[in-house]
Amino acid sequence: MRELVPFIVIGLASGSLYGLAGLGLVLTYRTSGIFNFAHGAIAAAAAYLFFTLHVSMHWWWPAAAVVSIGVFGPLAGLVMERMARSLVSTRTATIIVATVGLLLFIQGFLYWRYGSAQKTFPEFLPTGTAFEITGVTVAWAQVINVAVGVGSFVGLYAFLRRTRVGVAMRAVVAAPDLLALTGARPARVRIASWVVGCTFAALTGILIAPTLTLNASLLSALVVQAFGAVAIGLFSSLPLTYLGGVVIGVGASVATRYLSARHGLSGIPGVVPFLVLIAMMLVTPARKLPRGAGRFEGARESGRRLPRPVLAGAVLLAGAFLIAVPHLVGPRLPVYSTALVFVIMFLSLSLLTRISGQISLAHAAFAGVGAATFSHFTVDFGYPWLIGLLATGLVTGLVGVVLALPAIRLSGLYLALATFGFGLLMETVVFQSWLLFGSQVNGVSARRPEFGPIHAGSSVDYYYVLLAIVTVTCAAMVLLRRARLGRFLRGMADSPTALTTTGLGLSITRVIVFAVSAFFAGLAGALFIGQVGQVSPITFTSYSSLLYLAALTVAGAVSGFVSSAFLAAGLLVVFPAYLSGVTVEVQSMLFGGTAVLAALVSDGAVDWKTLAARVAGRLDGAIARTDVRRRRTPVAARNAVAAAAARQP
């Protein structure tokens, strides 16, 4: 027991901060209905700001803290509130994509501005010994972390009980519509909660950075710990959320003590929060989870089909171009081959998100499973190429069924969170197992196909093999959409209630669509490995899943089901090959930022006409003001006075 004390101390210090992050998340979610995936990214941004002020510009740390917590936090809150207000009546998927886009944007910006290398974040709090328990020294910094966590919780609790705004906040949580009737202004309450929530995020970011070291993705992933805490609090209880954070912190720390030395399990401590998140999503009855903002049905792009001849012409032209690519692009051919692989990936994701109204934040994980499985089948077991490919698809399809288990019960936000947790779990633990990538750093490899006139050594041949598979996939997707299953999927996106009250067992439908989607994502992973030769699990992170979703959303805003897959692949893979400045960080910023905009514009969150009218109105106002100002010039004023005097009887 005594040997556990240091781990418990460390766990309490970090857990208290997870709880603090969780409090901010619950507060904003419950008052606005918007679950902020970018909560951790805001914390990261605050930490980098503090770093710049304190380390680079040598500010005194309390001054830097005041600016990055007291100024940046509330400002971020105001921006978030404005965004949340625009999003609140759109579709749930749009809301998720918008905050995910913001996460990508902030993270991309931080990488681009500060580089991806980890920076040591100085412990600015006093590190001297505060006291000892059973011979274990407890540092002042740790005491302060716990004190800030507990203090913020108690302060928030008192604020919600004692102040007018606080009581109104609780009322918003309970019944937003009723509050407006009582005369309190829900808008003011929402602003207050976003300001408090984002300030908590900033506070968490700065306090936790010294232990995590400064790294944008680590800090953004802080939100996952907060997710776990929030899940324990069932997305509504503040005390349980804070406690949940502490439990996760202590649990992860104690797990480190027992598991870090064991091979294969060393990843476990880091995933305690995902395990908690997944477990809570699996066991909590869906009706116990609060309904967030957003709706399922309506406003989906529809009915705007191109005339047949135009469509046929476009398909022919695109086909001719794709066939000619190897003769046109020279040494850039691998870029186009990779893009073809991504077309399959995007079609598979689009089937879920665009056609069926589901959401997946774990699509890269399916591709990862596909890549590793394909390597085992073809290299280790020596299956023929095509058999190996199909078998791989079946295996990932089965994994899709496993992921569909939470999907059956959950929808919208909670489905997104469950898939996100699943992706993180795959990335951090399952990929390292011998079943998939094993512990080799270089990852796994696979052969290219060799039959008939197709040579494994020729990139051009492989390009055409990929093109053939892409063609088959496109045809399959188009047929699927028109078949009975496709009608059910489109119906499910429009109104699941209508389908289930006419007799369809929606659970089965959801399982089928996840299986089909995972099948194709697995194919993409398998084909990717043939394209690049060797693949390590680093390619298939949750971050990639988020990036794919954002890219598809951006492309989908301006194109159809099949064409958006090609456009997204072009944007993600081909476009950067021609512009040397477009690194992953810049892409993250571009896709993230555009996904936010696309989310705001689609579904009528921001109506262009209203916006244009408002801008025109502002301009008119400005011109009018200039007129007044002109009139106030001495001559004009004198004339006006004279005119007024002349009118006097």
Binding site: R287, E297, G298, R300, E301, S302, G303, A483, R484, L485, R487, F488, R490, G491, A493, D494, S495, T497, A498, L499, T500, T501, T502, G503, L504, G505, L506, S507, I508, T509, V511, I512
Partner: protein, 274 residues
């Protein structure tokens, strides 16, 4: 199309002791109600009386706090909405639930397809030629009966409210449901449409022997088409009787006091309240 197959003849939907609580709020309190086959049963009451909540509990979208829902003689209280639909319970929604990105005929056909597919993974993916023939015939008939064959290829998202109501009705018609729960099907219809609507409902009940439970605010329609009426107020059953008895009831008048318009339309005001 066979309307009356299986189940006890006459036994439609029976609700006993239904209680639904939202937190501390009692939405429906110990309600007994029965909607037999071959009859149009009305469920009326002021806003917030618990009518839609009763519908949700009957169709399985909501789990009641206590009480039993019996459909064609079988207890379905523990069954989900899809299972109840497959037994022949169809419903429409006050805030219409339509597939807005699909055409009218796709909307109507999908109801029959959903019933055929149920929870069978194979039939969810493809239709057999026989199933497809049934779907086509049912869709054509439903579009024709509801008078919307002319707009069959329009996207539902572009239709007016009145047209959407008809699409929803055509959907439950095509689905071959024997017991229909219709939630304010005539709101948003003009007078002519509403009369046509009433005629369709009567023909479903007398011609095809269906059972209908109707929630409706249009008192004129309710009084002319219903055989039997249940009146709810604040979740409690305050009256049960024929339309004529309901008109005469002082209890019902008291519940509707303040909504003169409704009473006038229903002919309640003729007795003179003040």
């Amino acid at each position: 199309m066979s309307a009356l197959t299986g189940g006890e003849p006459g036994a439609g939907l029976d609700v006993s002791g239904l209680t639904v609580r939202y937190g501390g709020q009692l939405a429906v309190d110990n309600l007994d109600l029965s909607a037999p086959m071959g009859q149009l049963t009305g469920l009326i009451g002021p806003n917030g009386a618990g009518k839609t909540t009763t519908f949700n509990a009957c169709s399985g979208l909501l789990r009641p706090t206590s009480g039993r829902v019996v459909l064609f003689g079988d207890d379905v209280t523990r069954k989900g909405p899809a299972a109840r639909a497959r037994r022949g319970l169809g419903r429409t929604f006050q805030r219409m639930e339509l597939f807005t990105s699909m055409t009218v005929s796709e909307n109507v056909a999908l109801a029959r397809e959903a019933r055929q597919a149920g929870s069978n993974p194979l039939w969810q993916q493809v239709a057999s030629p026989r199933q497809w023939a049934t779907v086509r015939a049912a869709t054509a008939e439903a579009l024709d009966v509801c008078g919307i064959a002319g707009i069959a290829e329009r996207i539902v998202g572009t239709l007016s409210t009145g047209q959407r109501r008809l699409v929803e009705l055509a959907r439950v018609y095509a689905g071959d449901f024997r017991m229909l729960l219709l939630d304010e099907p005539s709101s948003g219809l003009d007078k002519a449409e509403s009369e046509r609507f009433g005629a369709i409902l009567r023909s479903l009940v007398t011609g095809r022997g269906l059972g209908i439970l109707l929630v409706e605010h249009d008192m004129e329609l309710v009084m002319t088409v219903c055989d039997d009426l249940y009146v709810l107020d604040f979740g409690e059953l305050i009256f049960h009787g024929t339309p004529a008895e309901t008109k005469a009831s002082p209890v019902v008048r008291a519940a509707y006091l303040g909504s003169e318009e409704v009473m006038e339309a229903a002919g309640l005001a003729e007795h003179g309240v003040g």
